[in-house]
């Protein structure tokens, strides 16, 4: 491999890039195949699901699996919309609170001078390696003792302890010049005024990234509904879908419905990420751990 030809982030195509395309395109294609398969599976009518050998791509796509899924869900007595409402509510509250929280904390850690600032940031950075699943039992005990078992707070609070969100936000705020904030302070602006009028408009990419990360964490979370919520009526869409699909998969017809359920869970994640991809990349430029 010689050094002639390609550069990092080139402006134009050069034939030395061909070798990278020859590696990247097949890998990307292979990685995407399972996702194509599940799309195709969700759209297969019953006779194609039964087919042996199974076909990879659907021939006559139909929405039957989606209709069947909604009908089956209705039979349990609790309408699907209840679970969906719970999930949307949890996601909206968690995102709003987390945006506020990471913004004010990130601002303080980045632009305010006070004792313990660096220590706080270092502790949060060390907590990047926190694996929540390892402490689901102690977290359960915390939730019981706080008296929030079976409440909306049990869905939301555990997910707000998200060191990576604060970390990315603080790193992003770091690159805003101190001068503009000092200038506002000299003019007598309060911290909340500075945050609202100066910091928020300049940190849109980081806010978008935190919103996406929070959405991904809440939307597909199974742990809170499984362990911290007892009433069926308060559980989330993700949890309902996972219990439903585990019983569906036994039959061939059920597999099509399970695929449909999985897609309903996945598509919002995908769409939101595609819309905000540029913001996420912008935020990631400041993601280094020193």
């Amino acid at each position: 491999m010689s050094l002639k030809g390609t550069h990092i982030n080139p402006k134009k195509f050069h034939r030395s890039q061909i070798k990278f395309y020859l590696i990247l395109v097949p890998i990307a294609a292979v990685m995407l195949l399972p996702i194509f398969y599940i799309f195709s599976q969700a759209l297969k009518p019953l006779d194609e699901l039964m087919l042996f050998p199974p076909r990879f791509f659907v021939q006559k796509p139909s929405l039957r699996n989606f209709n069947m899924l909604i009908m089956t869900a209705g039979e349990t007595g609790i309408p699907l919309t209840v679970y969906l409402f719970n999930s949307v509510l949890v996601a909206v509250i968690a995102i709003s609170v987390n945006l506020t929280l990471t913004m004010i904390t990130g601002y303080a850690l980045s632009k305010k001078r006070f004792k313990g600032r660096q220590t706080l940031f270092n502790i949060n950075q060390a907590a990047l390696m926190f694996v929540p699943i390892a402490v689901s039992i102690p977290t359960f005990l915390v939730i019981v003792n706080m008296g929030i078992l079976d409440t909306l707070a049990a869905h939301i609070l555990p997910l707000l302890a998200m060191p990576v969100s604060l970390f990315l936000m603080k790193q992003f705020i770091d690159q805003l010049p101190d001068e503009i904030i000092e200038a506002a302070r000299v003019d007598g602006a309060s911290d909340f005024y500075i945050i609202r009028k100066i910091v928020v408009p300049l940190t849109k990419p980081a806010l978008a990234t935190v919103a996406i990360l929070t959405f991904q964490a809440t939307w597909s979370n199974l742990i809170t509904s499984q362990f911290y919520i007892n009433s069926e009526l308060k559980k989330t869409f993700a949890f309902y879908m996972s219990t439903l699909t585990s019983t569906l998969e036994i039959t061939v017809a059920g597999q099509g419905m399970a695929a449909a359920a999985g897609l309903i869970m996945f598509v919002p994640n995908l769409v939101i990420f595609i819309i905000m991809q540029n913001h996420v990349m912008d935020t990631m430029s400041h993601s280094g751990v020193k």
């Binding site: 010689s2 050094l3 982030n9 134009k12 990278f20 395309y21 590696i23 990247l24 395109v25 990307a28 990685m31 995407l32 996702i35 398969y37 599940i38 042996f52 199974p54 004010i104 904390t105 303080a108 001078r113 006070f114 706080l120 907590a127 990047l128 390696m129 694996v131 699943i133 390892a134 402490v135 689901s136 039992i137 102690p138 977290t139 005990l141 915390v142 609070l157 707000l160 302890a161 060191p163 991904q216 597909s220 362990f227 996972s242 699909t245 998969e249 399970a258 695929a259 359920a261 999985g262 869970m265 996945f266 994640n269 991809q277 990349m281 990631m284 430029s285 993601s287 751990v289 020193k290």
Partner: protein, 305 residues
């Protein structure tokens, strides 16, 4: 200029400290409540017997001794499985992310954007779809896609029970986890490579840099160490957060003959199925130590000082 909007007069400096505390306090409380306190509880309970009904009873190091001497599946399966899985999915996922990011950085903006989206997509499918998808592909009857494929081309005569078979389960878990390993660590490393000052490369070429491998080791990696470290930590955390995949794929905990059981599943098995919270907590402590060891090594490799 001193305003008296508090009960007692405060100086500007005190006011500044007060407002800083107000800003960080909500996060600090949540951080304490849902990260620090659970870790401390896990640590304390690991030295007790606790069945959730009677109050915890001090047990010294009994749980840790039992782990090594009495818990046969732990020594024979859980630890070897966890280490094999973590060593391949952690560093493997990390290396894969770096290589993909490095190649993507050599393309123009347009194609790079689409290809990186495609590589990132599997990391956001979530636990539910991952389970449905791979259970369907590896289904043990002849309707499973892989079985049908192998049967059709006469590689096998009988369908293989991929997800119930101790020979296959752990390897399938590793494949699935690697498949979804290019998450935000991958995006961070891509951004890191793109941010490197091009003059560094120019200077190195003038100084006699010979090939791309030298360039990667002497310029690219040193110039993006902070992103490498972030990527490494994310790769390890991601590997352990995917730790339930064996139970999700096989549908039972413990997995068939413990073949796909990792320490995360063992914790759930003892904690939520047998209500032996003391022992489950001791397992959590061991899990923390393993994650800590991995991040420690990453820090030695990519830390800035």
């Amino acid at each position: 200029m001193m305003k008296h909007d508090f009960l007692f007069p405060v100086t500007k400096k005190q006011k500044n400290i007060l407002s800083s505390v107000m800003l960080v306090l909500p996060y600090v409380l949540i951080f304490l409540g849902f990260i620090i306190v659970p870790i401390l509880i896990a640590f304390s309970l690991s030295f007790t017997y606790f069945d959730t009904i009677n109050p915890p009873e001090f047990a010294g190091f009994d749980n840790y001794v039992y782990m090594l001497t009495g818990d046969e599946p732990f020594v024979r399966n859980i630890i070897p499985n966890t280490l094999k899985y973590a060593f391949i999915v952690g560093p493997g996922g990390f290396a894969l992310s770096f290589l993909m990011a490095w190649m993507l950085a050599q393309l123009q903006r347009g194609p790079r954007k689409y290809l990186s989206l495609l590589l990132y997509t599997p990391s956001m499918v979530g636990a539910i779809l991952v389970t449905i998808l791979w259970r369907s592909l590896f289904n043990g009857s002849e309707t499973g896609y892989f079985n049908a494929f192998l049967l059709h081309y006469d590689f096998i005569e009988q369908p293989i029970q991929f997800l119930q078979s101790p020979d296959y389960l752990l390897n399938i878990m590793i494949i699935v986890s690697l498949w979804s390993s290019m998450g935000i660590g991958f995006l961070a490393m891509l951004a890191g490579i793109l941010n490197i000052n091009p003059e560094l490369y120019e200077a190195a070429r003038i100084d006699g840099m010979k090939n791309r491998f030298q360039e990667i080791f002497y310029i690219t990696i040193p110039a993006m160490k902070p992103q490498m470290l972030f990527g490494a930590v994310m790769a390890i955390v991601n590997a352990f957060n995917m730790g339930e995949i064996g139970v999700l794929l096989s549908g039972i905990n413990p997995t068939p003959q413990y073949s796909g059981s990792l320490i995360v599943n063992h914790i759930a098995d003892f904690g939520f199925l047998r209500y032996e919270m003391g022992y489950a907590s001791a397992l959590s402590v061991v899990l923390f130590l393993i994650v800590f060891a991995f991040t420690r090594v990453s820090k030695i490799l990519f830390g800035s000082d």
